[in-house]
Point group: C2
């Protein structure tokens, strides 16, 4: 099981944006370069994020991307939904057989619905601001402080 690279790159790029687009826009190429992502692939990712209203863009020289809302308003759930379509586990139709229908319903209720509910619970309550803070705290510790 895994998050697609698309989702992972998207999260990385957005944390980067959260940190760096406070004052001005950030060019896609610089995000791609700093994080080791193919610029053309990242373009597609930003297209999806823009369509979902998560980032906005400014064209032309000195243009670039910035967050469309405050980082605290952007949930990881939204981000994954924009990039994965839907991150929840799919319900699947049982075949016509009646035994199968009952078994599938049991799996749906006890496994899939429960997992999806917890996934939502985690991901809807986690924002870019939380990720940004975690990143900045860690950076400060690792780079600016000495171990006493």
């Amino acid at each position: 099981m895994k998050f697609s690279k698309k989702s992972r790159y998207g999260m990385i790029a957005l944390i980067d944006l959260a940190v760096n687009s406070k004052s001005s826009h950030v060019a896609l190429n610089s995000i791609a370069e700093q994080n080791g992502i193919s610029p053309q692939y990242l373009e597609q990712i930003f297209a999806a994020l823009r369509r979902a209203g998560i980032v906005k863009s400014v064209k032309g020289p000195q243009g670039g991307y910035l967050l469309n809302h405050a980082a605290g308003e952007i949930t990881v759930s939204e981000i994954l939904e924009a990039l994965e379509g839907d991150y929840r586990f799919e319900s699947e139709q049982a075949s016509e057989d009646s035994k199968n229908v009952g078994i599938s319903a049991a799996i749906q209720k006890l496994v899939i619905d429960r997992v999806n509910q917890e996934l939502e619970n985690i991901l809807m309550n986690l924002t870019l601001a939380d990720l940004e803070k975690e990143y900045l705290d860690h950076e400060a510790y690792g780079q600016d402080m000495y171990y006493i």
Copy 2:
């Protein structure tokens, strides 16, 4: 996001086994037929379940499969691990760049680790017996009782 068909078929087949292998073994073909699964594909699934010690088999005429432990001892976590390899979300190595390392670590800690912990929590505490009971309760209601 989805559970693979392999996992889904595996869970279906094992619930079926839990219900029907109380007294004697059940032939793979009958499970396949009753649940609309390709017998040859289901064979591969049972091979993995057998290697994981979840089912045991009896060869020859009147042979078949049965659960290797009581249904209450078999967790959904075990089943998915046998079929998916590992159902947890993968950690992924960041590239060498130091910014990326920090961002990746934040994602790992706040998203992936949290999700994995909840997944485990749900799936390790859910047994085949729970699924069997949910199925049987539902069947009894739907088929044997009248709505008053």
